[in-house]
Symmetry: C2
Subunit: 344 residues, 2 copies
DNA sequence: TGTTAGCACTCAGGTCAAACGAGTGCTAAC
DNA sequence: GTTAGCACTCGTTTGACCTGAGTGCTAACA
C-alpha cells in the first residue's frame, strides 16, 4: 500500500512537472525536485512500472517520460488540488458581470476575453435559450415598413426574442396593437415549443384576414427563433504553447475554432450543469486529439443557459482552470443576488 | 522608351512570380518563364537597375530578388489586370445575399466565410449604421417586465434598433402604446443624432410623470445605440502562408485580429466608398508591416454601411481580390434591385 | 526485499566542415 | 545593346562527430 502511495506521488510529480515545462520528465528531475529521499534509480524503477500500467509514455528511449491521457484522467479525477486565484483574477472575472451591460452579446464577449486572459487558453462562450422550457408571456408586433413588421416575443422569465416578419398585406398599426394584445392573452402560459401549433389552432376560428396573419406568424417563428450566441476569445493564446509550434497543427486547431458546428457540438455536453473535463480523444474530435476541453454550464436567471469552454493542450493547468470556472459560477450567482436586491 | 517598357514588364513578371511562389525570383526564372527573347544576363542588368530604383530588394547576394512595397504600390496602381472569377466563385458570393436571411449578423458571417473561402485570406466584415445620416421614422415601447421595456427605433430607411430600458416605475401597456404613438408623431423626420435633444425638448412641456419617462428614454439611447457588428472569418487561412510559418509572427498577427479596436480602425477608411489597398506600413500598424489590407465599403439600402477588409501577406493576389470585391458590390446591387421588384 | 550505485547503451540535438547550387556582378566579345 | 562566360557569394544540405540527458540492467547493500 505504501508503494502504491509512492507510485501515486511520483506520477503526480511527473504530471505537475510536465504541465509546467512541456518537457519529458526524467527520473533525476523527480528525485531532485520532488522526492529527495529516493534516488533516481528507484524512481526509474517506479517509472518503468507506471509505463507498464499505461500511465506514462516515452517519446523515445533516451528522453524522459510524458503522462498518457490515462494519467491525465486520473490526475483530473483524483489528484486535483484546488488552486486559489489571485485577487486580481477574481476581480477581473467579477468585472465581466458588471451591472451596466445587460446585453448578452457583450457579457459573452467580455467573459471570453477575461477567461482567455486569466487562463491563457482559448475560451468559447455559448449562450442559448432552451426553448422547450420557456413559457410565453406576451408578444408585440411593431410596424417597420408597409408590409414589414417586427415580432417581439417575451417569455415569463423575461427573455426577449425579436424577428422580422414579412406580411402579405399592409396592416394598420392600431390593428397590429389590438392583435398583439389579443394574442398575448390567448397565448399566455403556452410553452414556447408549442407556440407554432397554438397559433395555427387560434387561426382556425378566425376570419380570413386574421387567419392569414396568424399563419404567417406561425410560419416565421420556427427558423429565426434560434437566438444563441457564440463568442470565442484568445485564439492567439494557443500559438504560444510549444505543442503548436508546428504551424500545420495550429492551423488545424484554429480551423476547428472557426467551424461553428464543431464548436457547438464541443460545448453541448448534454445539459449537465456541472463542469466536464474531456481529455484528448475524449473530445471525440480528431483535430483535438492532443487538446483538452473543459466545459461548464450555468443557468442564468432569465432561463438562458451559458456554456463556457476552455480549450488548451492536454497538459492543461486543470486545477487553475477549475478554480476559474468555479469563480465564474460564483460571480453569476452574486449577480443574481444583486438583481434581487434591486427588485425589492 | 522601349527599355522603360521592358523594365516595366520584367518588374511585373517578378511580382507575378513572387506572388505565386513566395520565393525570391532569379534572373534565369524570368528569362525562361516570362521573357524568353532575353537572356538571363540582360534580365540581370535590368533587375540591378530596378533594385537601384527601389522596386526590388535582395535578401542576400545569392538569392533572387523580391518586390519592395514600392513595387507592390506600382503594381496595384498601374499593372493590375482584372482577373475573371470562376462561375463557382460568383455563385458562392451571390449566395451570401440570399433573400431568406435578412438578419445582418447572419449575412456578415456568411459573407466573411465566403470571402475567406474564395480568396484564402482573412476576411473582416463590419456593419455600422452612420447615425448622423439616419432619419427617425417611428418608435415603440414594448413591455417586458414590470419596470423593464424595450425601446424600438425605426428609421425612414427601414433600419431597426432595439434596446432595453429600465423604468423608474411600472407603466400600463396601453399607456406605453399611446406614448409610443405620440412620440412617433412628434419626432417624425427628426435626425437620429438629434433624437436625444428632441426628447428632452418635448419633456419640457409635459406633466411630471411623462417628463420623467422621456428623460429616462433620452438618457438611455446614447450608449446602446451603437449597433455595429464585426465578424472575422478565415483566420486559419493566414497560417498556411510561408510568411507566417514563424509562429511568433503568426501569433502577433492573430492577436491583432482579436483586438476589436485595431480591427475597427483598420476598416475605418474614412467614409470613402471605393476600394482601398494598403500595403505593409501603409496600414499604419507595426504588426501588419508585412501584410496588405484591402478594404471596400458598400452602402446598403437601409442606410447601413458595410465595410469589408481582406487581410493577407503583402504578396497578395491583388487582381483576384479586387475582382472578388467588385463581385460583392455587384451582388449587393442585385439584391437591391430584386427587393425593388418585390415591392412593386 | 526494497533500495541504490554503477555502467553500458540509446538517441535527439548541436556543431562543424565540406559540398552544393542558385544566384549575382563583371568583363569581354558579338 | 545583348549575351556568353566566369569568378564569386552565400544560404542550404549533408554527414560525421560529440555531447548529454536519459534509460535498463545488474550487482551490491541495508
Amino acid at each position: 500500500m505504501e508503494i502504491l502511495d509512492r507510485k501515486y506521488r511520483i506520477l503526480q510529480a511527473i504530471i505537475d512537472d510536465y504541465i509546467l515545462t512541456a518537457l519529458p520528465v526524467g527520473s533525476r528531475t523527480i528525485s531532485r525536485k520532488y522526492e529527495q529521499k529516493l534516488s533516481s534509480a528507484t524512481i526509474r524503477n517506479e517509472m518503468s512500472d507506471l509505463e507498464d500500467l499505461g500511465y506514462l509514455d516515452s517519446p523515445h528511449t533516451s528522453a524522459g517520460r510524458i503522462p498518457s491521457n490515462k494519467a491525465y484522467r486520473l490526475y483530473v479525477d483524483q489528484m486535483l488540488q484546488p488552486i486559489p486565484l489571485s485577487l486580481e483574477d477574481v476581480a477581473y472575472i467579477r468585472s465581466c458581470f458588471d451591472q451596466r451591460s445587460r446585453q448578452i452579446e457583450q457579457i459573452s464577449t467580455r467573459l471570453a476575453r477575461a477567461l482567455s486572459g486569466v487562463t491563457h487558453y482559448t475560451a468559447a462562450v455559448m449562450t442559448r435559450m432552451p426553448r422547450e422550457e420557456q413559457i410565453f408571456s406576451h408578444m408585440q408586433l411593431v410596424p417597420v415598413a408597409d408590409r414589414r413588421v417586427i415580432l417581439i416575443l417575451v417569455t415569463e422569465s423575461g427573455a426577449v426574442t425579436q424577428m422580422p416578419v414579412e406580411l402579405d398585406a399592409a396592416i394598420d398599426p392600431d390593428v397590429l396593437y389590438t392583435v398583439s394584445k389579443f394574442l398575448s392573452q390567448r397565448l399566455a402560459g403556452c410553452a414556447m415549443s408549442r407556440l407554432h401549433q397554438a397559433l395555427l389552432e387560434i387561426a382556425e376560428g378566425e376570419p380570413e384576414e386574421m387567419s392569414k396573419l396568424l399563419k404567417t406568424l406561425a410560419a416565421q417563428d420556427d427558423d429565426n427563433m434560434d437566438t444563441g450566441s457564440l463568442v470565442v476569445g484568445g485564439r492567439s493564446n494557443l500559438l504560444s504553447f510549444p505543442e503548436y509550434s508546428d504551424v500545420e497543427k495550429a492551423r488545424n486547431l484554429l480551423s476547428v475554432l472557426e467551424t461553428k458546428d464543431k464548436l457547438v457540438s464541443l460545448l453541448n455536453t448534454h445539459g449537465e450543469m456541472e463542469i466536464t473535463v474531456r481529455i484528448g480523444p475524449e473530445t471525440g474530435m480528431e483535430e483535438l486529439k492532443d487538446c483538452s476541453v473543459v466545459t461548464a454550464s450555468y443557468r442564468m436567471r432569465d432561463g438562458r443557459v451559458n456554456t463556457i469552454g476552455l480549450i488548451g493542450p492536454t497538459r492543461m493547468q486543470y486545477g487553475r482552470v477549475l478554480s476559474v470556472l468555479n469563480q465564474v459560477g460564483r460571480s453569476i450567482y452574486e449577480l443574481f443576488d444583486s438583481q434581487d436586491d434591486e427588485q425589492k
